[in-house]
Amino acid sequence: MELCGVIGIGQTKHDTARTDVSIAGLVREAALRALEDAGLTWSDIEAVVLGKAPDMFEGMMMPELYLADALGAVGKPLLRVHTAGSVGGSTAVVAAHHVQSGRFKRVLTVAYEKQSESNAMWALAPKIPFQQPIVAGAGGYFAPHIREYIRRSGAPSDIGIKVALKDRLNALKNPFAHLRMEGITLEQVAASPVLWDPIRFLECCPSSDGACAMVLASEDVATRNEPAWVLGTAVRSEPLGMAGRDEINPRAGRDCAEAVYAQAGIKDPRNDIDCVEMYVPFSWYEPMWLENLGFTEIGTGWRLTEDGVTALDGDLPVNMSGGVLSSNPIGASGMLRFAEAALQVRGRAGEHQVDGARIGLGHAYGGGSQFFAMWVVSGEKP
Protein backbone atom coordinates (compact mmCIF):
# COMPACT_ATOMS: atom_id res chain seq x y z
CA MET A 1 0.00 0.00 0.00
CA GLU A 2 1.30 3.47 -0.90
CA LEU A 3 1.69 6.15 1.76
CA CYS A 4 -0.87 8.96 1.79
CA GLY A 5 -0.45 12.41 3.28
CA VAL A 6 -2.86 15.30 3.85
CA ILE A 7 -1.21 18.31 2.21
CA GLY A 8 -4.12 20.74 1.97
CA ILE A 9 -6.93 21.58 4.37
CA GLY A 10 -9.70 24.11 3.85
CA GLN A 11 -13.06 24.94 5.36
CA THR A 12 -15.67 27.63 5.08
CA LYS A 13 -16.83 29.96 7.80
CA HIS A 14 -19.76 27.95 9.11
CA ASP A 15 -22.99 29.83 9.73
CA THR A 16 -26.74 29.48 10.12
CA ALA A 17 -27.37 30.58 6.55
CA ARG A 18 -24.67 31.30 3.98
CA THR A 19 -27.11 33.18 1.75
CA ASP A 20 -24.14 34.85 0.00
CA VAL A 21 -23.25 31.68 -1.88
CA SER A 22 -24.90 28.90 -3.86
CA ILE A 23 -24.16 25.29 -2.90
CA ALA A 24 -21.48 25.36 -5.61
CA GLY A 25 -20.02 28.54 -4.13
CA LEU A 26 -19.93 26.95 -0.69
CA VAL A 27 -17.98 23.84 -1.71
CA ARG A 28 -15.76 25.99 -3.90
CA GLU A 29 -14.73 28.16 -0.95
CA ALA A 30 -13.47 25.15 1.03
CA ALA A 31 -11.89 23.50 -2.01
CA LEU A 32 -9.96 26.63 -3.02
CA ARG A 33 -8.57 26.99 0.51
CA ALA A 34 -7.43 23.35 0.48
CA LEU A 35 -5.81 23.80 -2.94
CA GLU A 36 -4.08 26.97 -1.80
CA ASP A 37 -2.80 25.24 1.35
CA ALA A 38 -1.43 22.44 -0.85
CA GLY A 39 0.12 24.90 -3.30
CA LEU A 40 -1.75 23.26 -6.19
CA THR A 41 -4.14 24.35 -8.93
CA TRP A 42 -7.23 22.66 -10.37
CA SER A 43 -5.27 20.99 -13.16
CA ASP A 44 -3.00 19.22 -10.63
CA ILE A 45 -5.94 17.29 -9.18
CA GLU A 46 -6.46 13.81 -10.66
CA ALA A 47 -9.69 12.73 -8.97
CA VAL A 48 -12.40 14.20 -6.75
CA VAL A 49 -14.29 12.41 -3.97
CA LEU A 50 -17.42 14.17 -2.69
CA GLY A 51 -19.58 13.46 0.33
CA LYS A 52 -22.82 14.81 1.71
CA ALA A 53 -25.74 13.62 3.77
CA PRO A 54 -28.85 12.20 2.06
CA ASP A 55 -30.13 14.00 -1.05
CA MET A 56 -33.52 14.53 0.59
CA PHE A 57 -31.97 17.05 3.02
CA GLU A 58 -31.61 19.78 0.37
CA GLY A 59 -33.85 18.07 -2.14
CA MET A 60 -31.06 18.06 -4.74
CA MET A 61 -30.64 14.71 -6.42
CA MET A 62 -27.07 13.66 -7.34
CA PRO A 63 -25.54 17.07 -6.57
CA GLU A 64 -22.14 15.77 -7.65
CA LEU A 65 -23.19 16.29 -11.26
CA TYR A 66 -24.06 19.95 -10.73
CA LEU A 67 -20.89 20.47 -8.63
CA ALA A 68 -18.44 19.03 -11.17
CA ASP A 69 -17.62 22.47 -12.65
CA ALA A 70 -17.16 24.09 -9.23
CA LEU A 71 -14.77 21.31 -8.15
CA GLY A 72 -12.77 21.20 -11.37
CA ALA A 73 -13.90 17.61 -11.82
CA VAL A 74 -14.96 17.74 -15.47
CA GLY A 75 -13.27 14.88 -17.32
CA LYS A 76 -11.87 13.40 -14.10
CA PRO A 77 -13.04 10.53 -11.89
CA LEU A 78 -15.67 11.98 -9.51
CA LEU A 79 -17.11 9.70 -6.86
CA ARG A 80 -19.92 10.44 -4.43
CA VAL A 81 -19.94 8.72 -1.02
CA HIS A 82 -23.14 8.10 0.99
CA THR A 83 -23.00 7.11 4.66
CA ALA A 84 -25.46 9.46 6.44
CA GLY A 85 -23.88 11.66 9.14
CA SER A 86 -20.57 9.81 9.06
CA VAL A 87 -20.19 10.62 5.37
CA GLY A 88 -17.56 13.34 5.79
CA GLY A 89 -15.32 10.78 7.46
CA SER A 90 -15.94 7.91 5.10
CA THR A 91 -15.46 10.29 2.14
CA ALA A 92 -11.97 11.12 3.43
CA VAL A 93 -11.33 7.39 3.86
CA VAL A 94 -12.34 6.71 0.25
CA ALA A 95 -10.11 9.57 -0.91
CA ALA A 96 -7.19 8.16 1.11
CA HIS A 97 -7.75 4.78 -0.54
CA HIS A 98 -7.56 6.46 -3.95
CA VAL A 99 -4.00 7.49 -3.06
CA GLN A 100 -3.01 4.38 -1.10
CA SER A 101 -3.99 2.20 -4.06
CA GLY A 102 -1.24 3.86 -6.08
CA ARG A 103 -3.72 4.90 -8.78
CA PHE A 104 -3.76 8.65 -7.98
CA LYS A 105 -1.13 11.08 -6.70
CA ARG A 106 -3.31 14.10 -5.90
CA VAL A 107 -6.93 13.72 -4.83
CA LEU A 108 -9.33 16.45 -3.77
CA THR A 109 -11.99 15.45 -1.27
CA VAL A 110 -14.89 17.69 -0.30
CA ALA A 111 -17.93 17.40 1.94
CA TYR A 112 -20.73 19.88 2.61
CA GLU A 113 -24.20 20.61 3.85
CA LYS A 114 -26.32 23.69 3.36
CA GLN A 115 -28.83 23.19 6.12
CA SER A 116 -30.43 26.59 5.52
CA GLU A 117 -31.70 25.26 2.18
CA SER A 118 -32.73 21.93 3.57
CA ASN A 119 -35.14 20.34 5.97
CA ALA A 120 -32.94 17.89 7.84
CA MET A 121 -35.13 17.76 10.93
CA TRP A 122 -38.18 16.55 9.03
CA ALA A 123 -36.26 14.60 6.41
CA LEU A 124 -35.12 12.47 9.37
CA ALA A 125 -38.62 12.04 10.71
CA PRO A 126 -41.01 10.95 7.95
CA LYS A 127 -43.86 8.89 9.34
CA ILE A 128 -43.75 6.08 6.81
CA PRO A 129 -46.80 3.78 6.93
CA PHE A 130 -46.25 0.46 8.73
CA GLN A 131 -42.82 1.50 10.03
CA GLN A 132 -41.89 2.61 13.49
CA PRO A 133 -41.44 6.41 13.36
CA ILE A 134 -38.00 7.74 14.35
CA VAL A 135 -39.69 10.54 16.37
CA ALA A 136 -38.77 14.18 15.80
CA GLY A 137 -35.25 14.40 14.46
CA ALA A 138 -31.92 13.29 15.88
CA GLY A 139 -32.35 14.61 19.44
CA GLY A 140 -35.53 12.66 19.99
CA TYR A 141 -33.82 9.54 18.70
CA PHE A 142 -30.63 9.81 20.76
CA ALA A 143 -32.03 11.08 24.11
CA PRO A 144 -33.16 7.61 25.29
CA HIS A 145 -29.68 6.25 24.48
CA ILE A 146 -28.15 8.96 26.64
CA ARG A 147 -30.55 8.20 29.49
CA GLU A 148 -29.54 4.56 29.26
CA TYR A 149 -25.85 5.53 29.33
CA ILE A 150 -26.44 7.54 32.51
CA ARG A 151 -28.35 4.64 34.07
CA ARG A 152 -25.63 2.13 33.27
CA SER A 153 -22.64 4.28 34.22
CA GLY A 154 -24.08 6.14 37.17
CA ALA A 155 -22.61 9.34 35.71
CA PRO A 156 -23.43 12.58 37.54
CA SER A 157 -26.14 14.56 35.77
CA ASP A 158 -23.91 17.56 34.98
CA ILE A 159 -21.38 15.77 32.72
CA GLY A 160 -23.19 16.84 29.57
CA ILE A 161 -23.17 20.46 30.73
CA LYS A 162 -19.41 20.29 31.29
CA VAL A 163 -18.80 18.86 27.81
CA ALA A 164 -20.92 21.60 26.26
CA LEU A 165 -19.08 24.36 28.09
CA LYS A 166 -15.67 22.95 27.13
CA ASP A 167 -16.57 22.66 23.44
CA ARG A 168 -18.15 26.12 23.37
CA LEU A 169 -15.01 27.61 24.95
CA ASN A 170 -12.82 25.77 22.43
CA ALA A 171 -14.93 27.20 19.61
CA LEU A 172 -13.93 30.71 20.69
CA LYS A 173 -10.41 29.81 19.54
CA ASN A 174 -11.61 28.61 16.12
CA PRO A 175 -12.33 31.41 13.64
CA PHE A 176 -14.35 29.04 11.38
CA ALA A 177 -16.73 27.86 14.14
CA HIS A 178 -20.41 28.66 13.69
CA LEU A 179 -21.36 29.21 17.36
CA ARG A 180 -18.93 31.47 19.17
CA MET A 181 -20.53 32.30 22.51
CA GLU A 182 -18.33 34.87 24.22
CA GLY A 183 -18.56 34.71 28.00
CA ILE A 184 -20.53 31.43 28.06
CA THR A 185 -20.82 29.95 31.57
CA LEU A 186 -21.72 26.61 33.11
CA GLU A 187 -24.77 28.28 34.63
CA GLN A 188 -25.99 29.43 31.20
CA VAL A 189 -25.72 25.92 29.77
CA ALA A 190 -27.45 24.46 32.84
CA ALA A 191 -30.24 27.03 32.63
CA SER A 192 -30.98 26.44 28.95
CA PRO A 193 -34.27 24.59 28.37
CA VAL A 194 -34.36 20.81 28.17
CA LEU A 195 -35.37 19.82 24.64
CA TRP A 196 -35.28 16.05 25.00
CA ASP A 197 -34.54 14.84 28.54
CA PRO A 198 -31.66 15.05 29.47
CA ILE A 199 -30.45 17.14 26.50
CA ARG A 200 -30.53 20.89 27.05
CA PHE A 201 -30.64 23.42 24.23
CA LEU A 202 -26.99 24.45 24.74
CA GLU A 203 -25.92 20.79 24.74
CA CYS A 204 -27.06 20.44 21.11
CA CYS A 205 -25.33 21.02 17.80
CA PRO A 206 -26.57 23.88 15.61
CA SER A 207 -27.85 23.66 12.03
CA SER A 208 -25.04 24.98 9.87
CA ASP A 209 -24.12 25.79 6.30
CA GLY A 210 -20.54 24.78 5.63
CA ALA A 211 -18.01 22.74 3.71
CA CYS A 212 -14.66 21.10 4.31
CA ALA A 213 -12.04 20.03 1.79
CA MET A 214 -8.69 18.27 1.83
CA VAL A 215 -6.01 17.45 -0.70
CA LEU A 216 -4.51 14.02 -0.22
CA ALA A 217 -1.26 13.11 -1.94
CA SER A 218 1.13 10.24 -2.53
CA GLU A 219 4.45 10.02 -0.69
CA ASP A 220 6.59 11.75 -3.33
CA VAL A 221 4.21 14.72 -3.58
CA ALA A 222 3.31 14.90 0.13
CA THR A 223 6.83 14.86 1.52
CA ARG A 224 7.37 18.44 0.33
CA ASN A 225 4.28 19.82 2.13
CA GLU A 226 4.65 18.98 5.84
CA PRO A 227 1.74 16.53 5.59
CA ALA A 228 -0.34 14.70 8.11
CA TRP A 229 0.48 11.09 7.25
CA VAL A 230 -2.46 8.70 7.23
CA LEU A 231 -1.53 5.78 9.49
CA GLY A 232 -4.87 4.00 9.40
CA THR A 233 -8.43 4.26 8.04
CA ALA A 234 -11.51 2.22 8.88
CA VAL A 235 -15.24 2.22 8.19
CA ARG A 236 -17.78 -0.07 9.86
CA SER A 237 -21.57 -0.21 9.96
CA GLU A 238 -24.37 -2.19 11.56
CA PRO A 239 -28.15 -2.39 11.01
CA LEU A 240 -30.39 0.13 12.75
CA GLY A 241 -32.92 -2.33 14.11
CA MET A 242 -30.94 -5.52 14.77
CA ALA A 243 -32.22 -7.49 17.78
CA GLY A 244 -29.75 -7.43 20.64
CA ARG A 245 -27.94 -4.44 19.25
CA ASP A 246 -26.28 -2.19 21.83
CA GLU A 247 -26.96 1.37 20.71
CA ILE A 248 -25.08 2.76 23.71
CA ASN A 249 -21.81 1.02 22.87
CA PRO A 250 -22.25 -0.10 19.26
CA ARG A 251 -20.16 -2.99 18.07
CA ALA A 252 -19.49 -1.27 14.72
CA GLY A 253 -17.78 1.57 16.60
CA ARG A 254 -15.66 -0.80 18.68
CA ASP A 255 -14.69 -2.86 15.62
CA CYS A 256 -13.87 0.29 13.65
CA ALA A 257 -11.58 1.57 16.42
CA GLU A 258 -9.89 -1.81 16.76
CA ALA A 259 -9.22 -1.91 13.02
CA VAL A 260 -7.85 1.61 12.78
CA TYR A 261 -5.62 1.17 15.84
CA ALA A 262 -4.22 -2.10 14.47
CA GLN A 263 -3.29 -0.39 11.18
CA ALA A 264 -1.72 2.57 12.96
CA GLY A 265 0.21 0.39 15.42
CA ILE A 266 -1.65 1.82 18.41
CA LYS A 267 -1.57 -0.54 21.38
CA ASP A 268 -2.78 1.78 24.14
CA PRO A 269 -5.00 4.51 22.68
CA ARG A 270 -5.10 6.52 25.89
CA ASN A 271 -1.33 6.94 25.88
CA ASP A 272 -0.50 6.61 22.19
CA ILE A 273 -3.00 9.18 20.87
CA ASP A 274 -2.37 12.86 21.64
CA CYS A 275 -5.72 14.38 20.68
CA VAL A 276 -9.14 13.27 19.49
CA GLU A 277 -11.66 15.07 17.34
CA MET A 278 -14.87 13.05 17.58
CA TYR A 279 -18.46 13.42 16.40
CA VAL A 280 -20.41 14.74 19.41
CA PRO A 281 -23.71 16.27 18.24
CA PHE A 282 -25.17 16.06 21.76
CA SER A 283 -22.83 16.66 24.70
CA TRP A 284 -23.19 13.26 26.36
CA TYR A 285 -21.69 11.53 23.34
CA GLU A 286 -18.21 12.57 24.53
CA PRO A 287 -18.10 10.11 27.44
CA MET A 288 -20.05 7.53 25.44
CA TRP A 289 -17.58 7.56 22.54
CA LEU A 290 -14.54 7.71 24.84
CA GLU A 291 -15.64 4.28 26.07
CA ASN A 292 -16.65 2.97 22.64
CA LEU A 293 -13.24 4.03 21.28
CA GLY A 294 -11.38 2.20 24.04
CA PHE A 295 -9.87 5.22 25.78
CA THR A 296 -11.20 4.03 29.12
CA GLU A 297 -13.11 1.17 30.75
CA ILE A 298 -16.84 0.87 30.06
CA GLY A 299 -18.79 3.07 32.46
CA THR A 300 -15.91 5.45 33.20
CA GLY A 301 -15.86 7.79 30.20
CA TRP A 302 -17.58 10.52 32.19
CA ARG A 303 -14.67 10.58 34.67
CA LEU A 304 -12.31 11.78 31.92
CA THR A 305 -14.65 14.67 31.23
CA GLU A 306 -15.14 15.44 34.91
CA ASP A 307 -11.39 15.37 35.63
CA GLY A 308 -10.62 17.78 32.79
CA VAL A 309 -8.67 15.13 30.85
CA THR A 310 -10.55 16.09 27.66
CA ALA A 311 -9.95 19.84 28.04
CA LEU A 312 -7.71 21.62 25.53
CA ASP A 313 -4.90 21.64 28.12
CA GLY A 314 -5.81 18.18 29.44
CA ASP A 315 -4.03 14.91 29.03
CA LEU A 316 -6.30 13.78 26.15
CA PRO A 317 -7.85 16.84 24.50
CA VAL A 318 -11.18 16.12 22.77
CA ASN A 319 -12.85 18.37 20.19
CA MET A 320 -10.27 21.11 20.15
CA SER A 321 -12.10 22.88 17.30
CA GLY A 322 -15.31 23.23 19.30
CA GLY A 323 -16.63 20.11 17.62
CA VAL A 324 -20.01 19.34 16.14
CA LEU A 325 -21.59 21.20 19.08
CA SER A 326 -20.19 24.41 17.57
CA SER A 327 -20.54 23.76 13.82
CA ASN A 328 -22.75 21.18 12.17
CA PRO A 329 -22.95 21.23 8.39
CA ILE A 330 -24.02 17.57 8.58
CA GLY A 331 -22.35 16.15 5.48
CA ALA A 332 -19.12 18.04 6.26
CA SER A 333 -19.15 17.39 10.01
CA GLY A 334 -17.28 14.09 9.75
CA MET A 335 -14.64 15.55 7.44
CA LEU A 336 -14.17 18.52 9.77
CA ARG A 337 -13.25 16.01 12.51
CA PHE A 338 -10.74 14.31 10.21
CA ALA A 339 -9.35 17.66 9.06
CA GLU A 340 -8.93 18.92 12.64
CA ALA A 341 -6.94 15.80 13.55
CA ALA A 342 -4.73 16.48 10.53
CA LEU A 343 -4.38 20.19 11.39
CA GLN A 344 -3.27 19.26 14.89
CA VAL A 345 -0.53 16.84 13.88
CA ARG A 346 0.68 19.35 11.26
CA GLY A 347 0.93 21.91 14.08
CA ARG A 348 -1.37 24.29 12.19
CA ALA A 349 -4.42 24.51 14.43
CA GLY A 350 -3.71 28.06 15.53
CA GLU A 351 -5.17 29.07 18.88
CA HIS A 352 -6.66 25.62 19.48
CA GLN A 353 -3.39 23.81 18.82
CA VAL A 354 -2.51 21.04 21.28
CA ASP A 355 1.15 21.45 22.22
CA GLY A 356 3.28 18.72 20.70
CA ALA A 357 0.39 16.77 19.11
CA ARG A 358 1.96 13.94 17.10
CA ILE A 359 -0.83 11.40 16.71
CA GLY A 360 -4.47 12.40 16.20
CA LEU A 361 -7.71 10.46 15.84
CA GLY A 362 -10.55 11.70 13.65
CA HIS A 363 -13.93 10.05 14.28
CA ALA A 364 -17.35 10.30 12.66
CA TYR A 365 -20.62 8.50 13.19
CA GLY A 366 -23.98 8.61 11.52
CA GLY A 367 -27.46 7.14 11.19
CA GLY A 368 -28.76 5.72 14.47
CA SER A 369 -25.20 5.22 15.86
CA GLN A 370 -24.68 2.66 13.13
CA PHE A 371 -22.16 4.09 10.61
CA PHE A 372 -18.60 4.76 11.78
CA ALA A 373 -15.53 6.16 10.05
CA MET A 374 -12.14 6.86 11.61
CA TRP A 375 -8.61 7.73 10.73
CA VAL A 376 -5.37 8.07 12.62
CA VAL A 377 -2.90 10.66 11.36
CA SER A 378 0.63 11.53 12.37
CA GLY A 379 3.00 14.42 11.81
CA GLU A 380 5.84 11.94 11.51
CA LYS A 381 6.37 9.81 8.44
CA PRO A 382 5.75 6.15 9.24
Partner: protein, 148 residues
Amino acid sequence: MAEETEALSALHVLEYNYTRSVGPVIGRFLTGLRDGELLGIKSSSGKVIFPPVEYDPETAETLIEFAPVGPAGVVTTWAWVSQPRAKHPLQKPFAFALIKPDGADTAILHAVDAGSEEAMKTGMRVRPRWRKERVGFITDIECFEPEP
Protein backbone atom coordinates in the same frame (compact mmCIF):
# COMPACT_ATOMS: atom_id res chain seq x y z
CA MET B 1 -48.57 -22.48 -3.13
CA ALA B 2 -48.57 -19.80 -0.48
CA GLU B 3 -51.95 -18.65 0.74
CA GLU B 4 -53.11 -15.39 -0.71
CA THR B 5 -52.58 -12.64 1.88
CA GLU B 6 -53.85 -9.13 2.11
CA ALA B 7 -51.27 -6.55 0.98
CA LEU B 8 -50.85 -3.61 3.35
CA SER B 9 -51.49 -0.34 1.58
CA ALA B 10 -51.60 3.26 2.76
CA LEU B 11 -51.35 6.71 1.27
CA HIS B 12 -48.04 8.42 2.08
CA VAL B 13 -47.47 12.03 1.06
CA LEU B 14 -43.89 13.20 1.59
CA GLU B 15 -43.48 16.93 1.14
CA TYR B 16 -40.87 19.44 2.30
CA ASN B 17 -40.22 23.08 1.63
CA TYR B 18 -36.73 23.78 0.31
CA THR B 19 -35.02 27.11 -0.31
CA ARG B 20 -32.12 28.07 -2.56
CA SER B 21 -29.43 30.71 -2.26
CA VAL B 22 -28.55 31.34 -5.87
CA GLY B 23 -25.18 33.06 -5.41
CA PRO B 24 -23.75 36.05 -7.28
CA VAL B 25 -23.98 34.69 -10.85
CA ILE B 26 -27.38 33.00 -11.04
CA GLY B 27 -28.64 35.77 -8.77
CA ARG B 28 -27.61 38.43 -11.26
CA PHE B 29 -29.10 36.42 -14.14
CA LEU B 30 -32.44 36.24 -12.32
CA THR B 31 -32.32 39.95 -11.46
CA GLY B 32 -31.70 40.59 -15.17
CA LEU B 33 -34.86 38.67 -16.04
CA ARG B 34 -36.81 40.87 -13.66
CA ASP B 35 -35.39 43.91 -15.44
CA GLY B 36 -36.19 42.45 -18.86
CA GLU B 37 -32.65 41.65 -19.97
CA LEU B 38 -30.79 38.44 -20.72
CA LEU B 39 -27.30 38.03 -19.27
CA GLY B 40 -24.69 35.49 -20.26
CA ILE B 41 -21.13 35.18 -18.95
CA LYS B 42 -17.77 35.05 -20.74
CA SER B 43 -15.87 31.78 -20.34
CA SER B 44 -12.08 31.55 -20.08
CA SER B 45 -11.89 30.86 -23.83
CA GLY B 46 -14.08 33.87 -24.65
CA LYS B 47 -17.29 31.97 -25.35
CA VAL B 48 -20.47 33.52 -23.99
CA ILE B 49 -22.29 30.93 -21.88
CA PHE B 50 -26.03 31.47 -21.49
CA PRO B 51 -27.60 31.06 -19.01
CA PRO B 52 -24.47 32.05 -17.07
CA VAL B 53 -22.52 29.55 -14.93
CA GLU B 54 -20.37 30.30 -11.88
CA TYR B 55 -17.36 28.23 -12.93
CA ASP B 56 -15.79 27.52 -16.29
CA PRO B 57 -16.70 24.00 -17.40
CA GLU B 58 -13.34 23.59 -19.14
CA THR B 59 -10.84 25.27 -16.79
CA ALA B 60 -12.79 25.46 -13.49
CA GLU B 61 -11.91 29.17 -13.24
CA THR B 62 -14.33 31.51 -11.49
CA LEU B 63 -16.23 33.48 -14.13
CA ILE B 64 -17.04 37.14 -13.49
CA GLU B 65 -17.47 38.96 -16.84
CA PHE B 66 -21.18 39.21 -17.65
CA ALA B 67 -22.29 39.79 -21.24
CA PRO B 68 -25.76 40.96 -22.29
CA VAL B 69 -27.20 38.72 -25.01
CA GLY B 70 -30.28 38.75 -27.28
CA PRO B 71 -32.92 39.09 -26.16
CA ALA B 72 -33.88 37.79 -29.63
CA GLY B 73 -32.23 34.65 -30.91
CA VAL B 74 -32.34 31.54 -33.06
CA VAL B 75 -34.08 28.18 -32.53
CA THR B 76 -31.40 25.47 -32.74
CA THR B 77 -33.75 22.53 -32.28
CA TRP B 78 -37.36 21.95 -31.16
CA ALA B 79 -40.09 19.46 -30.34
CA TRP B 80 -43.80 20.12 -30.85
CA VAL B 81 -46.18 19.59 -27.93
CA SER B 82 -49.61 19.06 -29.46
CA GLN B 83 -51.39 18.26 -26.18
CA PRO B 84 -50.02 20.41 -23.36
CA ARG B 85 -50.31 19.08 -19.81
CA ALA B 86 -51.46 21.11 -16.81
CA LYS B 87 -47.93 22.06 -15.73
CA HIS B 88 -46.64 22.99 -19.18
CA PRO B 89 -45.76 26.64 -19.75
CA LEU B 90 -48.55 27.18 -22.29
CA GLN B 91 -52.05 25.74 -22.32
CA LYS B 92 -52.22 25.55 -26.12
CA PRO B 93 -50.05 23.60 -28.58
CA PHE B 94 -46.47 24.95 -28.48
CA ALA B 95 -42.84 23.95 -29.06
CA PHE B 96 -40.16 23.20 -26.52
CA ALA B 97 -37.06 24.63 -28.16
CA LEU B 98 -33.39 25.32 -27.60
CA ILE B 99 -32.95 29.03 -28.22
CA LYS B 100 -29.55 30.63 -28.72
CA PRO B 101 -29.82 34.38 -28.10
CA ASP B 102 -27.80 36.70 -30.35
CA GLY B 103 -24.28 36.98 -28.96
CA ALA B 104 -24.46 33.76 -26.96
CA ASP B 105 -22.59 30.54 -27.77
CA THR B 106 -24.97 28.23 -25.92
CA ALA B 107 -28.74 27.82 -25.89
CA ILE B 108 -31.49 27.78 -23.29
CA LEU B 109 -34.53 25.51 -23.18
CA HIS B 110 -37.79 27.42 -23.33
CA ALA B 111 -41.23 27.41 -24.93
CA VAL B 112 -42.07 28.91 -28.32
CA ASP B 113 -45.63 30.04 -29.10
CA ALA B 114 -45.62 29.70 -32.87
CA GLY B 115 -49.33 28.97 -33.38
CA SER B 116 -48.79 25.79 -35.38
CA GLU B 117 -46.18 23.10 -35.92
CA GLU B 118 -45.84 24.23 -39.55
CA ALA B 119 -44.63 27.63 -38.32
CA MET B 120 -41.69 26.05 -36.42
CA LYS B 121 -38.32 25.76 -38.17
CA THR B 122 -34.80 25.17 -36.93
CA GLY B 123 -32.99 28.44 -37.58
CA MET B 124 -36.09 30.61 -37.13
CA ARG B 125 -35.73 33.84 -35.19
CA VAL B 126 -37.65 34.30 -31.96
CA ARG B 127 -37.88 36.91 -29.21
CA PRO B 128 -39.01 36.74 -25.59
CA ARG B 129 -42.56 37.61 -24.61
CA TRP B 130 -42.02 39.18 -21.20
CA ARG B 131 -44.59 39.08 -18.44
CA LYS B 132 -45.81 42.44 -17.21
CA GLU B 133 -45.29 41.52 -13.53
CA ARG B 134 -41.77 40.14 -13.20
CA VAL B 135 -40.28 38.60 -10.06
CA GLY B 136 -36.78 37.46 -11.02
CA PHE B 137 -37.51 33.95 -12.17
CA ILE B 138 -37.19 32.07 -15.47
CA THR B 139 -40.97 32.25 -15.88
CA ASP B 140 -40.62 36.05 -16.22
CA ILE B 141 -40.31 35.05 -19.87
CA GLU B 142 -43.81 33.80 -20.61
CA CYS B 143 -42.46 32.16 -23.75
CA PHE B 144 -40.61 33.05 -26.95
CA GLU B 145 -42.50 34.03 -30.08
CA PRO B 146 -41.52 34.33 -33.75
CA GLU B 147 -39.98 37.67 -34.71
CA PRO B 148 -42.29 39.59 -37.04
